[in-house]
Symmetry: C2
Subunit: 293 residues, 2 copies
């Protein structure tokens, strides 16, 4: 049995996993004073109660982590944490692993894919845009733990919006939930639309499915940017498949089909067959991936 | 002792290497009827003459190769070759390895770097633009053997020149030797210049060093495109360092310094410190890298 822990700003999700299946899972409120003690206590309680042996505990960290040392978790507001030191008080003989949460989600999708992919790149479209790279069945963290920060690839030379990171034209500025709303607002007056003026990204894509002109325009534009990013990724890492996840991807296959349409146009001939798939684990991806670090 | 073989369209270079040093090297004229037999005979002759034991023979192939099966070498005009079958007639007990020639050059530079880098991306600027990715000390081929085909990343939305691959705006169209000449010709009438009208890429960069206005303009433009490509690579793979090689890089540190200037501007904050280095092995990179596959 393995345990995967997905640390979030408001809750920590932990799951006990066997053969890629979640046997049991729990949510704990994130308390910055006692976060990891709370987690290990919960795991200990479960292990003793069920009388099981844990092979590994893996952590998905929303921030920078290296060799089980957490530099900082901006959304939790704490950092400088040595996971191994806390762990050994509860599980002195269990393997402890950790990686960035997007990397864990990437690994979760890869591990649970039907075709058992060996190399893949995961793109998560949420409030921001992030990603994770899995090579040879393992997460690639990168030397600065910045592998997968593809939200900050330069992609949009048309609007060249300022990104929160300080750069301009980042992928995130036009394909995150915020970016989708930004585009819809920019073109609002140019199309016939039933999208409300105070909209969410979900509104935009829901209306696109109902053939709303603005909705379709924005969906196509977002898909084109994503396809260009994937075309670049494909020649850089040449993976078996791309997974598209995060809240924005909940609009479903219509997004994938649109990305595919532009990917066919912009991709180099040798990588035209790289698969583009909808991530399927949703919020469990990070927890499951953490268990397989 | 290891043997590295760099297969080219006109000559095949082979070297005997120990502790990253070339002990002896030979050039053989590329004959497509007997290419690999010629190579193995030469190796056999050397091995018997010097009475040495070979641990490994590695091949850098100018084309697509998978598991020692060469699909096609366009510039040699042959393909469908099973390297293992030929090898076992000469060296039944020696490990045979193979990869794309750009990947081998990437590995060569990584292996021979003073800082012993573990992950790096090599960009070669020649007639075309290619590259190779080294992760965890090993070459990443990619599922379609297309890893490193970064010459075909979309990068130039300004001129959007047609690339030989069929796409538009590829990195290769503006940073290869041909691309540099293309840019210099495009802007020829707009600057005071002593670059001859029938120019080479070397002429353009040589004149840039002499403060020729057109030369400097093109050098800056090429450097800016390369820096944007490196900034994208950095968030995708987050390697320790980039190596810039190929004929164009012979203009030296001035190119690196210019790329660095734009890299500082366009790169994501977490990868600002990624090193950009001039490749130093020149034509020997592929041969040395092949020996370390």
């Amino acid at each position: 049995m393995r345990c995967g822990v997905d640390v979030g700003g408001t809750t920590v999700k932990l799951g006990f996993i066997e053969d890629k299946k979640i046997i049991d899972s729990f949510s704990i409120v994130t308390k910055k004073e006692s976060l990891f003690d709370d987690v290990f206590k919960k795991i200990k309680e479960y292990v003793l109660d069920k009388n099981i042996i844990l092979d590994e505990i893996g952590f998905g960290i929303p921030g920078i982590v290296r060799n089980n040392y957490i530099v900082r978790m901006p959304n939790v507001g704490i950092g400088d944490i040595n996971l191994d030191e806390i762990a050994k008080r509860y599980f002195p003989n269990t393997k402890i692993k950790s990686s960035n949460d997007a990397n864990c989600a990437a690994l979760g999708e890869a591990v649970c894919d039907d075709e058992n992919v060996n190399s893949s790149y995961f793109i998560t479209l949420g409030t921001g845009v992030g990603g994770g790279y899995v090579y040879d069945g393992k997460v690639v963290d990168g030397v600065n733990s910045a592998c997968g920060e593809i939200g900050h690839m330069f992609i949009d030379y048309i609007h060249n919006f300022k990104c929160a990171c300080g750069l301009n034209g980042c992928l995130e500025t036009v394909t995150s939930a915020t970016g989708i709303v930004r585009l819809a607002k920019k073109y609002y007056s140019q199309f016939k639309t039933s999208i409300p003026e105070e909209m969410s990204a979900k509104d935009v894509f829901d209306k696109a499915k109902e053939n709303d002109e603005l909705g379709i325009f924005v969906l196509n534009m977002v898909s084109e940017y994503l396809a260009k990013a994937l075309a670049a990724l494909a020649v850089v890492v040449d993976v078996e498949c791309f997974f598209i996840g995060g809240g924005v991807s909940k609009c479903g296959q219509i997004l994938i089909d649109n990305i595919q349409k532009y990917y066919d146009k912009y991709s180099f001939y040798a990588v035209k067959k790289t698969k583009i798939k909808l991530a399927k684990l949703g919020n469990d991806a990070g927890m499951i991936g953490a268990a397989y670090l």
